[in-house]
Symmetry: C2
Subunit: 480 residues, 2 copies
């Protein structure tokens, strides 16, 4: 690959026509315009910052695991592999913000030190292929997704989505009056052919008009939830080519990116890294790499989008938690550094889930009849998408596939193993007035002949026991 200097890279294309009605109406907060005067002898009675003397917090620290080998910050050699991360009281070396600054209002971009860290990380990991990309701190990918939707879509619009999707994404989309257009998936995620067909043929159905042709796709390219599918490089290139051809914005929700099980050939390029136009909004989260309770992530997008995204942040959460950001900044910037963080991802997080994935797969192979339940080996993430071969059921055709799946789900419950019903990931509209909480009486979508298993949480003996129970349940269910 020829490395280009940043200045040789193109600027993002103009996507101003993609901005939603809501976002177009957002204005820079006028309060912030007063900051320019804060120089020289100016005394401000302008801003509304609370007085730091009223903050009861005088120190904040966390004991954290050290980044694997190579970290120089290991301070206490007796306590091996852990170090104390203390948010500085005063902005001493200027590397990270002081506690007082972290606890104050600070603006919607997030804390500078942490944001710069994330920016450098994106730079080295994803090497964006256009000049004017920017990073903004967020409260995690769920919130970022809402903001990306508000940025781009109006009530009545359509959005392209993988046929089986993260339920929260559907729960976000539907109340906004946006319609999901499900695109078939295979073991490598969204199918380019089907995507192209949908776009080429838009207009062939009565509700489809040139005006409402989808302009946005929501994709989870790595370790997709629930299918576990990871798009290969060619698949990614194909999708980006379609995006260019049909002028799509892509929301790349990629919380499982660092949970890639094989990186012998390097990390899989992200869609962001294949984007030369600035059409990808990439969402990264610390939820799966450090801890969900951080409620911190970051989003990468072209400068124009970032501005609106920031305005939206400033009238909602204002900024991610200062406690979270301060601890993360001190750990990542002050202690681990870029390399330490990458090693932590590579050698700890990734390996933990790799081992768990391998183990659950071996258990499933051992205990579950693969004629009745099969799966594609996941190459990233936390999930195995179990395909149930209902066509092998003795009563297949006599009752609906949904009925058979419901029986199997209940058989699992009876055997003390809980799996997530496939219909919960369906992108079809759910039946009106259905009580979705009655999971033992309810299954909709005859195509949802799947159960989602995760290897992320249960311990190894539990996983083995669960696979055994699933084996028993499926045998029983298919016997009747």
């Amino acid at each position: 690959m020829v490395v280009q200097s940043v200045s040789e890279l193109p600027l993002a294309k103009d996507f101003s026509s993609f901005i939603s009605v809501e976002a177009s109406a957002r204005k820079k907060s006028p309060l912030k315009s007063l900051l320019v005067f804060m120089k020289g002898n100016m005394i401000s009675l302008g801003g509304g910052l609370p007085h730091p003397s009223t903050f009861p917090f005088t120190e904040l620290s966390s004991v954290v695991k050290s980044a694997p080998a190579g970290t120089t910050a290991l301070k206490d050699t007796k306590k091996e592999n852990i170090e104390t991360v203390s948010v500085p009281l005063d902005p001493t070396d200027g590397k990270v913000e002081s506690l007082a600054a972290s606890l104050q209002y600070g603006g919607g971009l997030g804390m500078p030190s942490l944001r710069n860290f994330c920016k450098t990380h994106i730079e080295s990991m994803h090497k964006p292929q256009y000049q004017d990309w920017e990073v903004i701190m967020t409260c995690g990918n769920t919130d970022s997704f809402t903001k990306a939707l508000a940025l781009l879509l109006n009530r009545g619009d359509y959005i392209l989505i993988e046929k089986w999707a993260y339920p929260t994404a559907m729960e976000t989309i539907e109340p906004l009056g946006i319609t999901a257009v499900p695109i078939p998936v295979d073991g490598e995620g969204i199918c380019p052919k089907a995507l192209r067909q949908t776009l080429d043929n838009w207009g062939s159905e009565p509700h489809q008009t040139p005006e409402n042709k989808p302009r946005v796709a929501y994709l989870v390219p790595t370790g997709q939830n629930p299918t576990g599918a990871t798009m290969g490089l060619q698949r990614r290139r194909d999708i980006m080519a379609i995006a260019q051809q049909h002028n799509l914005i892509i929301i790349e929700d990629d919380p499982y990116y660092y949970l890639q099980f094989s990186i012998d050939d390097g990390w899989m390029p992200s869609l962001l890294s294949l984007d030369t136009d600035g059409r990808v909004i990439r969402l990264d989260s610390f939820s799966k790499t450090l801890a969900p309770g951080c409620r911190v992530g970051y989003a990468t997008m072209n400068k124009q989008f970032r501005e609106y995204f920031q305005f939206h942040t400033e009238v909602t959460v204002q900024q991610p938690s200062g406690f979270s950001q301060a601890v993360l900044a001190e750990m990542l910037v002050g202690h681990w550094g870029q390399e330490g963080y990458t090693r932590y991802l590579t050698e700890r997080v990734r390996i933990e889930y790799l081992n768990r994935s391998k183990f659950l797969q071996s258990c499933l192979r051992k205990y579950v009849n693969s004629e009745l339940i099969s799966f594609v080996e996941p190459s990233a993430g936390m999930f195995i998408w179990l395909k149930v071969h209902v066509e092998k059921h003795p009563r297949h055709g006599q009752v609906t596939d949904s009925a058979l799946m419901l029986e199997l789900f209940n058989a699992c419950i009876a055997e003390d193993v809980l799996l997530t019903p496939g219909w919960q990931f369906s992108t079809k509209p759910k039946p009106q007035n259905a009580d979705l909480s009655k999971v033992q009486e309810f299954w909709f979508d005859d195509e949802a002949t799947f159960l989602r298993a995760t290897f992320a949480y249960a311990d190894f003996p539990q996983m083995e026991k669960a696979a055994q129970s699933l084996g028993v349940a499926v045998t029983k269910a298919f016997a009747a």
Copy 2:
């Protein structure tokens, strides 16, 4: 006051017709419905929780000021008035959540210990007068306000608001296609007569129809931003009576509640505490009492509203930061207790701002010609709303009041004192395409003959200097 037992209190009225199109379409997350199975020997491969062994954080602690006198938790007697708050690694006494639990996904209500603390606090401070009120943790009042709007209002709707308002509120309202209906204010906040008139006469203007009659009022009853006004008890009663008569929901945004300067007769009752119908959504924030960087607050509302509010939380921020909540829970629940927290508010936070308020007022009285600039003494909050008597300006009537105000603002800048231009709090629509960041060239709204001063942040010598400079600036500006 006759104290009623909770069971004698009425249930909230049915406000289901107030739910917006967006909120009505929200469903309980089906993923959460699986939790009921987690008992006995059930093994779950269902949920998608990351494995805690991948969390690098093994301890979290903060040194905090002790609550004033009476706290028993003072551990280190040498370091006076501070104590170390450590989030427990394991859920030992069950009083607060463990670090691992705090760092995990936990659901949109917020951490139970902290939420219970806030609930008890609301109970004792505000004594809600109906049975089925509930508390939900939030990411602060800015975010809560967005969620309250999304709960109640559709594009095209109208909302009642104080004539001078918190700019972020306007920035939230306008992009949603909601129109603010400004109601005149006096030194005690929103005027009941004007409010009643607006509602009684709704329909008298062409755009006003019975269908779009305002159903929601957004009010900041204590230390209002920017006017500093605090509604007296009778005023509060009057407003609640109008709300009942016209069936209004009230969003009570009350971040300055605990910054009341005189509590000799007790704390001023909140609108929540006067509400017997469940029509008040009360927003509390830790931003002004502990620190804005917490990004934690809590909202109190009837059970039905709380459900939708929670669903919305779960598809946006998911939950407030676990770092913030864990430190707050350990400090408030584990150390300070209800009484300690109340003492901290009463004896520290309140007193700090009381002293600051008194000091700035004395400086203004000393240095600024009260014929040219007058103000109502604030009885709560952070702000003094300076009324500029432009009618006394020699060129009054020859140029617009806006032009005179802009001159004064620039005269202030020249004297090195920065005050917030009154127009930034205007609830009139801002001129299209105006560059609001050019504050030295721009002033709109001839009625905005105000400057907002805050006594919250500058130190005392700075405040004195600023008042002096303002005195000079106003004399100069009114001389020309």
